[in-house]
């Protein structure tokens, strides 16, 4: 008797996998013989194992992206250290190579634990990974072949290292679930590159899941189902077949111009969170960047120096020559407090963040940021600037004052041509757009629907008990947005949207009917979003606006959209990949 478990995690890499589970344990406890004697050729064997492993790492070096290379180069050096010390052990105490490697590993793991340092973000699991690979080469599968049997299975692990990822990828893994990791981690990027569905499940308890049981990984919604019911199996089997049909179609749409069935052209921009993502986005059909989140630059022990800022902005601007690149001034505070400033707040989401933070630390953070931005802008005129978390025009005026002072210091006069915008993510900003429009510098507004939704609904979107309440299709949220859009258009401001709502296929026809002609989406949804745009008759949805804004529930809004699309036989398949009640 098996009980179905459904868990909600973080979608990391798109796609759906239905298969049996393969539990992968990282090699903290490597099993090698307690006692063994060195053979005559033990030293030679060690050298050979090292050569083979280095050959493998060098192969990887050729295929991975630049950001991964440093790590692999360090792996090479560590492997050399391991083998050179193991060689001494073999010669002096006559143990076999496997045991010698294990002893060297134990020594360094202890050293790491003692020093308490995270050596270059190297973890114990990295060291164990290298030691195990060497032992494998030494023993030729005698000790273990930990990825044998991975083929066509869903790998469940606490955490994966990049080299383990490559091993399971080569072994034919179908889907991945881990307890730890991040959307921007090495492994996450690799999973997306290789198109392997991946969900991070922080609540994962590996002991509660049996080996070889059937599971579903839904990389669209971030859902994991273990022992699925017949009903769910059927639903997902259908989704997989849709996905297979659509995969090539959606890929093709990535590079097409997005025009609706009734002839409206729509600009599809992308959201990125670092330079590497920008590089990838520029090759994925993104027509510019609608939101560059730069907070990551501020997550080390000191704020970034000017050159780093200039280089970062210039690089991304160059990827998109002639196309817009919107840099958002760092939205620090709230869930992203910088490590170098300590702020204690009872309610950080309503605290010192965004523009408030920037004005509070104007000398330490805002001025250096603006210096970096304006220097980059002087070279790359496709850069734009956006201010986060504003609630009233006064904040923008103050920001502009600081910017003008910095521009003067730098002798940059072109600042008057700069396209400045605000992110509309507070209800206050949404209802004051007519007032913001009077600011001479202000050219555009961009709706940040994630925060806007949580502030309109007073629902913390990270609170697991409120998952069902956080929904951007709540008519209250839609009313705030539509009102803001109308005001902005009336006053000649360009209107964009960069929140997650724009990446949700079911919302796209509504947004187009609201008047949005510029959507900034997650790069991995670009094909899907363009496909939906090309299947939308905007005028049909404009007639539907009253009904949408007067609906009682988000589900009713979704039904209205689907019915309308069905009404003119639009292709609904992309919508079916996403579950009905998304959180």
């Amino acid at each position: 008797m098996s009980i179905m478990i459904v868990a909600k995690g973080i979608p990391v890499s798109e796609g759906i996998a239905i298969s049996r589970i393969f539990k992968y344990y990282s090699r903290a406890g490597i099993e090698v013989p307690q006692e063994c004697k060195a053979s005559e050729k033990e030293v030679e064997k060690l050298s050979k194992a090292l050569e083979e492993y280095k050959k493998y790492l060098n192969e990887l070096l050729n295929v991975v992206e630049e950001s991964e290379r440093d790590l692999l180069q360090a792996y090479v050096l560590i492997a050399e250290t391991f083998v050179s010390e193991a060689r001494e052990l073999v010669e002096n105490s006559n143990v076999c190579g496997e045991l010698a490697i294990k002893q060297v590993l134990d020594k360094y793991v202890e050293l790491m634990e003692q020093s308490g340092s995270e050596l270059f973000a190297l973890r114990k699991s990295d060291l164990a990974d290298i030691a195990l690979a060497l032992i494998e080469h030494l023993s030729r599968g005698r000790v273990l072949g930990d990825v044998v049997g991975v083929k066509d299975k869903i790998v469940v692990a606490e955490e994966l290292t990049p080299t383990v990822f490559f091993r399971i990828q080569r072994a034919g893994v179908k889907g991945i679930i881990t307890a730890k990791g991040g959307i921007t981690s090495h492994v996450a990027i690799l999973a997306r590159t290789y198109g392997i569905p991946y969900v991070i499940l922080p609540s994962l308890d590996m002991t509660s899941i049996g080996d070889d049981v059937i599971a579903i990984v839904d990389g669209f919604d971030g859902k994991v189902v273990v022992n699925p019911s017949n009903e769910l199996m059927e639903e997902y089997t259908k989704k997989v077949s849709i996905l297979n049909e659509l995969r090539d179609v959606l890929k093709k749409y990535v590079f097409e111009k997005a025009e609706t069935l009734d002839g409206y052209e729509v600009e599809v921009l992308c959201n990125i969170g670092n330079v590497e993502e920008g590089r990838v986005a520029s090759t994925q059909g993104c027509e510019g960047i609608g939101l560059f989140r730069v907070e990551y630059l501020y997550m080390s022990s000191k704020p970034p120096v000017e050159e780093v800022l200039v280089n970062t902005f210039t690089k991304v601007a160059n990827f998109f020559e002639g196309k817009p690149v919107v840099i958002r001034a760092p939205d620090l505070g709230a869930d992203k407090p910088p490590p170098f400033i300590s702020i204690r707040e009872d309610n950080p989401l309503l605290g010192l963040r965004g523009i408030r933070f920037l004005l509070e630390y104007r000398n330490e953070i805002l001025k250096p940021f603006l210096r970096g931005f304006l220097k980059a802008y002087a070279q790359s005129k496709n850069l734009r600037l956006m201010i986060p978390m504003v609630i009233k025009p006064g904040e923008v005026y103050e920001f502009v004052d600081v910017m003008n002072i910095v521009a003067q210091e730098l002798g940059i006069s072109c600042v008057k041509d700069l396209e400045l915008g605000i992110m509309v993510e507070t209800p206050a900003a949404a209802v004051l757009i007519d007032k913001f429009a009077k600011i001479p510098q202000l050219r555009f507004v961009s709706f940040g629907t994630n925060d806007l939704t949580q502030y309109v609904l007073a629902v913390d979107r990270t609170n697991p008990r409120l998952v069902r309440m956080y929904n951007e299709l709540e008519p209250s949220v839609l009313r705030v947005i539509v009102r803001g859009v109308n005001e902005a258009r009336k006053h000649g401001l360009k209107v964009e949207i960069c929140g997650e709502l724009a990446s949700k296929p079911i919302a796209v026809p509504i947004l187009l009917a609201f008047g949005f002609r510029s959507l900034s989406v997650n790069p991995r949804y670009i094909g899907t979003i363009k496909y939906i745009i090309k299947n939308t008759r905007v005028q049909q949805f404009e007639q539907l606006l009253d009904a949408i804004l007067n609906a009682d529930e988000p589900s009713a809004v979704e039904e209205l959209v689907i019915k309308t699309l069905q009404g003119y036989n639009a292709d609904l398949r992309p919508l079916l990949l996403f579950s009905k009640y998304r959180s």
Partner: protein, 90 residues
């Protein structure tokens, strides 16, 4: 033997990529090379030991180079630490 005391100038000290670069270089020489911070000395050809020193920007370190190619090794290492890394890793 050549011994020299220098200040680490590049931004990330001898962590991450700079440490990898440093150890890749020291391994090119036959001489024995030691790197010391606050009187703790380790083998400069062993990346794990170099990382374990936790050398940051601004730290004073001592280099000890001894062997047949010590002159060349000494020169190249100083070039890396004092000229190349501070430009690449500001």
């Amino acid at each position: 033997m050549k011994v020299v005391e220098i200040k680490i100038l590049n931004r990330s000290g001898l962590h991450a990529r700079p440490a990898t670069r440093f150890v890749q270089l020291t391994n090119k020489f036959k001489s024995s090379i030691q790197i010391c911070k606050t009187s703790k000395c380790v083998d400069a050809k062993n990346i794990l030991k170099v990382l374990s020193l936790g050398i940051d920007q601004g730290d004073i370190i001592t280099l000890k180079v001894e062997g047949s190619d010590e002159e060349e090794a000494y020169k190249s290492i100083l070039e890396l630490l004092l000229n190349i890394l501070p430009v690449e890793d500001k």
